[in-house]
Every structure is written in C-alpha cells, then in structure tokens.
C-alpha cells in the first residue's frame, strides 16, 4: 500500500488538476521533524496595520475562541506607551467603515483616547482650471478621520495583548521559506503549510494570511502573478504648521500637472502633507531649506500659473450652463489654509506604484492589504481597502469555523476573493485612470477632466458613490 501511496503522490505532482489550487513547485515534506513543528490554525505574516488588525479581529472572534493564531512581524515590538507631542509624518485617512471595523474589537476607543482628527469636507480641484468638486455629508457626520499610523498601531497592539492567550505575536521573526502542501486527497505528507523562520524555527498552519506589503514574500513564494507598475512619482510627506489656527476640518487636494498635493488636517494648527510628484522634484523638495519648502507648498495651492484663458472660459461657460439646469450644482469655493512652517525632521519621501495580484487566494493561502493590491495615495484609500479585506475575510473565516470547516479550504477563500476583487478592481482602476488623467497639461484632456469634475460635482448620485 505504501507503494501505491507514493505513486498517487507522484501523480499529484506531475499532473496537477486546476493549477491554481496548489501553490509553487515545492517538494512535499515527509520528515518526522516537520510534523513536530507547532501547528496553528491561522498564521498572519506581516505585523503592520493590516496584519495586526487581521490577527486582532480573529483573536476577538467568538468562533475562534479555542483556536491558535500566530502573527509574524520582522521588526521589534515597539513601545507605544505615550505619544510624542509632535505628529508623525505617516498618517492615514480612515473611512467610517474602517473605523467601524476597528471599533468592533475595541481598538477605535484607544485611537480616540490618543489623537485623531475628523474631517467633514473634502475639496478637490484642478491646477489647470477652476473646476473643483466638494465632498461632504449632508447629515453633518464625519467623512473620515486623519490618524497617525503609530496611533493605529498602538491601539492594535493593546487589543492584541488582550487576546494574548489566543494570538501569539512573534516579533523579530522573518519568514524565509514556505512549503506548500500537496492536494489533501493524495497525502501521506503533511497537509499543512510549513513556515521556516530566519532563526531556524518552524511553524505549521492550516491557513497562511499574507499581509506583508506590496513586495509580499508570501505572494511571490505562492507564485501568484502580480500586475504592477511603478509610477514616475514619489510622495513627499511632512508635518506642517498653519499660519493661523482654524477649524481645520477640511481635507484639501489639488491636482497639479506633476501630481496631486494634499493637505490633511491633524489639529487646528497642524496638517499633514502628501505631495506626489516626480522623483527629481521630490528630491529637490527634500533638499531645499524650510522657507523655500513652505513657499513651494503655498504656491502649489494658490498659484494660477497653469490656467489658460481658453480653459477658464470653457470652464466658466460650462459652469453657467450647469447652474441654469441645477442651481445648487456649483459649490462655494473655500480657500485652503496657508502654511507657516514645517516640522524640522518630518520631511520624507517614498516611491509610488500600483499593483494588483491576479489571485487573492490559493489552497491554504490568502492575501490581504498591500500584498494583494497597491494604490496611489491620491484617493486616500490604501489602508481602507486593507481593512475592507479584513472585514470580508474575517466574516467568511468566522462562518467557516462555526461550520467546523477546514479553515484553509478554497471554498470559502474563493468567496472572499470574488467579493473583494469585485470591489477593489474598479476602485484601483479608477484611481489609476485619475492619476493618468491628471498628469497632463494637454488641453483636450484638461477640458475633459474640467467638465467631468464639474459635472460630477453637480450630480449627487455619482458623488455619493465616491
């Protein structure tokens, strides 16, 4: 019978049915040593905002009460006991949906007790024309929140500590190798995913969740194809101080030909800068002295040098037409605040790109967050897509656990993939299109986007969907 078993295994290797089911070309692991490695129900690889939140959500799920979860983080455990007075330059725009997710396991309360800035309004406008669009909620609700990434991590770490009996966090642990199981029906070999850490330790798991960022090792090792594109842009971030204190509850974004510049409120006197521009310009911005830097920012928001008379006239005509048809369709333009100074150490830059994995799941593997999809920051959606992935995957895993199912089974993983790809692909594509559309001074395209923006501003249904 063992000869028959071996033959069956080989057949499985040589003629895989439906190639997407089993990842990678690795040989099966038959040794006794492998079976002695501790077995987890779920291992999350990557302890950033998305990975930590995933582990925390599962740890707080009642149907995972008796399950074993591990979170692998390459970096050391950070102390978040108290926030420094100065703001960190890495912030995220958190949507109400993400806030709800964080609230579902008690993390949002921690965020609120630390610091965050709700904003009520978003003004988005073009550098090449007068066209603009304003987003705000009629019911005086917050549109979103600007939160420092460190604040989110602090809240997540606290909530992970609460469920430490279920979730084991491995700091300073980088996974260096993954061994994928053969299809379960042919097995004398272990049906679990084998993980090898840099220090030689081994883990086994029924489900591996890759939350290890846009250069995901899990995705590469699983041989999942990734559609990616490097933009010729870097984002410059900085913490800025306003000239005068104001009810800073509007998020501003202006599309310059070189890229969008955004001002996100942190407090009544401070805002966070995210300026996407060419690599050369980004380096210049980092190198120049503080005064010139502040001047560049103010001029980027206020200057009309890119306007042309033709566009202005065409835009004005369109606006009068719109106001005839829909009197409330043109909005009152608010003026963005002016900047007085920048926090000395807060300037930094990082390159931008776009990416989308062709598959989010395979047998015993799921990708979430930037490992699955990477977007341009112009839409402020990056981490929210990741939190959306978490909500969806956790829902399906919770149901699977309550049904006694094998957690790594493709049946429910595919449901997660379908739901999220449907949601994410259109948003990622739209963000990419917007980025390209706004990267030009060519008159026809400027006209198109001017009228498009004005039309969108006038049409409530379209705006609400955004």
């Amino acid at each position: 019978t063992s000869a028959i078993m071996a033959a069956v295994c080989c057949r499985g290797l040589l003629a895989p049915l439906g190639g997407r089911l089993w990842a990678g070309p690795r040989a099966p692991l038959c040794s006794v040593a492998a079976t002695a490695a501790p077995l987890y129900d779920v291992v999350v690889s990557g302890g950033g905002m998305v990975g930590s939140a995933m582990a925390a959500v599962l740890g707080h799920d009642i149907h995972f009460h008796d399950k074993k979860i591990a979170l692998l983080e390459a970096g050391p455990r950070k102390q978040y006991d108290s926030m420094p007075d100065s703001y960190s330059n890495r912030v995220s725009s958190i949507s109400p949906g993400s806030a709800t997710l964080l609230g579902s396991f008690g993390a949002w309360d921690h965020v609120c007790s630390l610091r965050l800035k709700p904003f009520r309004r978003m003004q988005v406008w073009d550098a090449c024309s007068e066209a603009m669009i304003i987003f705000e909620k009629d019911d005086l609700d917050d549109m979103g929140y600007i939160v420092e990434n460190d604040v989110i991590m602090s809240a997540l770490t606290k909530q992970l500590d609460v469920v430490a009996d279920r979730v084991e966090v491995f700091y300073g642990s980088r996974a260096v190798g993954y061994t994928w199981p053969l299809p379960s029906h042919s097995c004398v070999t272990s049906p679990w995913v084998q993980i090898e850490l840099a220090d030689g330790r081994r883990l086994q798991t029924k489900l591996l969740i890759g939350a290890d960022g846009h250069n995901s090792v899990v995705r590469k090792e699983a041989e999942i194809k990734n559609i990616e594109h490097r933009y010729d842009q870097s984002a410059v971030v900085a913490t800025l101080h306003l000239s005068e204190a104001t009810d800073n509850n509007v998020a501003w974004q202006r599309f310059l030909p070189t890229g969008p510049i955004a001002l996100l409120p942190l407090s009544d006197t401070a805002s966070s800068l995210v300026w996407s521009t060419s690599h050369e310009h980004a380096s210049e911005l980092l190198a120049m002295d503080e005064e010139s830097f502040v001047d560049s920012i103010n001029s980027a928001f206020w200057s009309n040098v890119n306007h042309s008379d033709f566009i202005d006239t065409a835009g004005a005509m369109f606006r009068s037409a719109v106001s005839l048809l829909k009197p409330s369709g043109t909005a009152v333009r608010q003026l963005p605040p002016s900047i007085a100074k920048v926090d000395p150490e807060s300037r930094a830059m990082f390159p931008l790109g776009m990416g989308h994995a062709t598959e989010y799941v395979q047998h015993r593997v799921a990708l979430i967050g930037d490992a699955a999809h990477r977007v341009h920051p112009l839409a402020g959606q990056g981490v929210n897509l990741g939190f959306g992935d978490i909500a969806c995957l956790a829902h399906h895993l919770s149901a699977a656990a309550f049904n006694g199912s094998d957690l790594g089974s493709l049946k429910h993983l595919l449901k997660f993939e379908t739901e999220r790809q449907r949601h994410n692909v259109s948003l990622i594509a739209a963000t990419d299109v917007l980025k390209r559309l706004y990267s030009t001074r060519l008159t026809p395209l400027v006209l198109l986007r001017t009228w498009g923006l004005q039309a969108t501003n006038a049409l409530p249904p379209v705006k609400v969907r955004i």
Binding site: V8, L17, G18, T35, L39, I62, H63, F64, H65, D66, P183, S184, H185, C187, V188, S190, P191, W192, A401, F402, N403, G404, S405, D406, S409, L410, K411
Partner: protein, 286 residues
C-alpha cells in the same frame, strides 16, 4: 484485505451490512478527501448538514459556548466513510466515534485526522458494523448521525433498533437519505449517476431508497419521536445543497429517543410533560 472483510461478514449471520454495497465502496476508498472528485457532493453537503445538526443540538441545550458549540457531546457517526462528517463535528468540539464496516475507509479516515492533534484526540474510528458495537455501547451516545447510510443497509429495521439501543434516552438521531419516488429515480439515478456523473454509476439502487413515511413509522415503533423532516436539493451547476419544502428527492430527519428527559413517553404522563405542553392538555394521558 479482502479476506479479512469476508471473514467478518460471515461471522455475523444477521447483519445490516450488505456485502455488495461494501464491494462498491471498496474501490473508492482512496477518493474520500478529493473535494473535486467522486465525493464532491458529500463534501458540499457538509454546508447544510453540519449547521442542521449543530443548530438543532444548540436549540435543545441551554449550556454551550459559541467557540466550542458541541463540547461534551458524544456522537456516533455510523457509516462514517473517510470521516467527511466526523471531522467538522470534531472541530466543533464533539467527541466522535466513527464506525464503518470497510477497513479501507477507516484507514483513510484515521490517516486524514492524524495530522491534526486536536482532531486525532476527539475522533476515534473503528472498523465495525453497528450491530457489533451494540453490546459494549448500550446507551452511550448523546447523538447518532447516519448520513447517506440507510439507503445502503441490508436490514433497516435492525439498524434502527441498534440505533435505539446505543443512544441515551432523550438522545438525538440524525438521518439524511433519499426518498423512493419517481422523481428520485429520474434525478437520483438517471441524471445523477448515468447522465451527469454526480455520483459514481451504481452507487445507489432505487429499490433500497427509503420514503420518509416508512422511516418515521419505523422510528416511532422503536421509541423515537420524529421532530423534523426537511427536503434537500442538490444543484449540480453550483455544486451546492439547499433546503427545500418537498422531500421527494433527498431529505434530512431529526428524531429524539424517548426517555428520562421528558420527551414523548408512551407510558402515561410525566411531570415534565406538562411543562412541555403548556397549551392546556395537562392531566390527560397520551
């Protein structure tokens, strides 16, 4: 292997196990855990039969934890095959004993559970027929599950009798099987086996299909009270099962053995009876 199984058959003169059935399943003993293979319909049946069992038991109990809903429940999975149903029940916390007359099935089941230490402890498999364990397991189990089994047994009455013997009083019996109707012949045999290959050809014999009325009658005569009968429908295009009103093809049944828990006792009125029927039939005998 064949010699061993043949010997076992001849040792019990009156058995609910049908040797021709055994031979059919012998050939498929390795195929149990291929979710896309011959047993794919049974794999997807877990999506409705596990919640059915789980929720019925939770509704009958007041003391459970949603993280481990079937903890402390002793379940007998009769005709467990490769353990397709035993494993989810084990994951939900139950202590499962899986029996199957075919040794190869038990071997497959044992091997599959061996990699998960939690399951390996919670589930015990035994190559045996139901009659063979009756003596050592009188009134041992809280729940018996006989899913897609009664349409394969040689002696249904004996099977039900044995179920009654090994079940604790007040315990639950869950059966899923196929009705004996024109529709079940067309869909269950012609379409499922001959045309679409949902089930391997020859798996089922229409003559052995069991109408729910016959099953209910048999159960009542052995002291069971039938609580629920639900029709089930398989959609071959999506590969998924759903509940349906009509029991003319597949159906699931839940029955409770009479006894000390105050369920329908045939021997007069018990004090618990009155609290079970608050609508004013107190004091009248059944």
């Amino acid at each position: 292997l064949f010699r061993l199984t043949a010997r076992r058959l001849f040792s019990t003169s009156h058995s609910s196990v049908d040797p021709a059935e055994m031979k059919k399943f012998q050939l498929l003993a390795q195929k149990w855990w291929d979710e896309e293979g011959e047993y794919s319909a049974l794999h997807s049946m877990n999506d409705i039969r596990v919640p059915f069992i789980r929720d019925t038991l939770l509704n009958m109990s007041s003391n459970y934890h949603l993280g481990n809903p079937l903890s402390g429940v002793k379940i007998l999975d009769v005709g467990c095959g490769g353990g397709l149903l035993s494993e989810p029940l084990g994951r939900l916390g139950a202590s499962v004993t899986g029996i199957d007359p075919l040794e190869d099935n038990i071997r497959t089941a044992d091997q599959h559970k061996s990699f998960d230490p939690v399951l390996a402890k919670r589930i015990q498999y035994k190559s045996s027929s139901l009659e063979e364990i009756v003596e050592e397991s009188m009134e041992t189990f809280d729940v018996i599950v006989a899913s897609e089994v009664v349409e394969h047994v040689a002696d249904l009455e004996m099977f039900i009798k044995c179920c009654s013997q090994v079940l604790k009083p007040g315990g639950s019996l869950f059966i899923t099987t196929i009705n004996k109707t024109q529709l079940s012949y067309i869909l269950g045999i012609v379409v499922a086996e001959k045309l679409m290959g949902i089930v391997p050809d020859g798996t089922h014999e229409w003559e052995k299909f069991v109408p729910p009325e016959k099953l209910e009658h048999l159960l009542k005569s052995y002291g069971f009270s039938v609580k629920t009968v639900n029709g089930m429908l398989y959609n071959p295009l999506s590969g998924s099962w759903s509940w349906m009103e009509s029991t003319s093809i597949n159906y699931a049944l839940h029955a409770v053995k009479s006894g000390a828990r105050g369920q329908s006792s045939p021997t007069g009125v018990l004090p618990e009876m009155e609290s079970e029927q608050p609508s004013g039939t107190a004091g009248t005998s059944m």
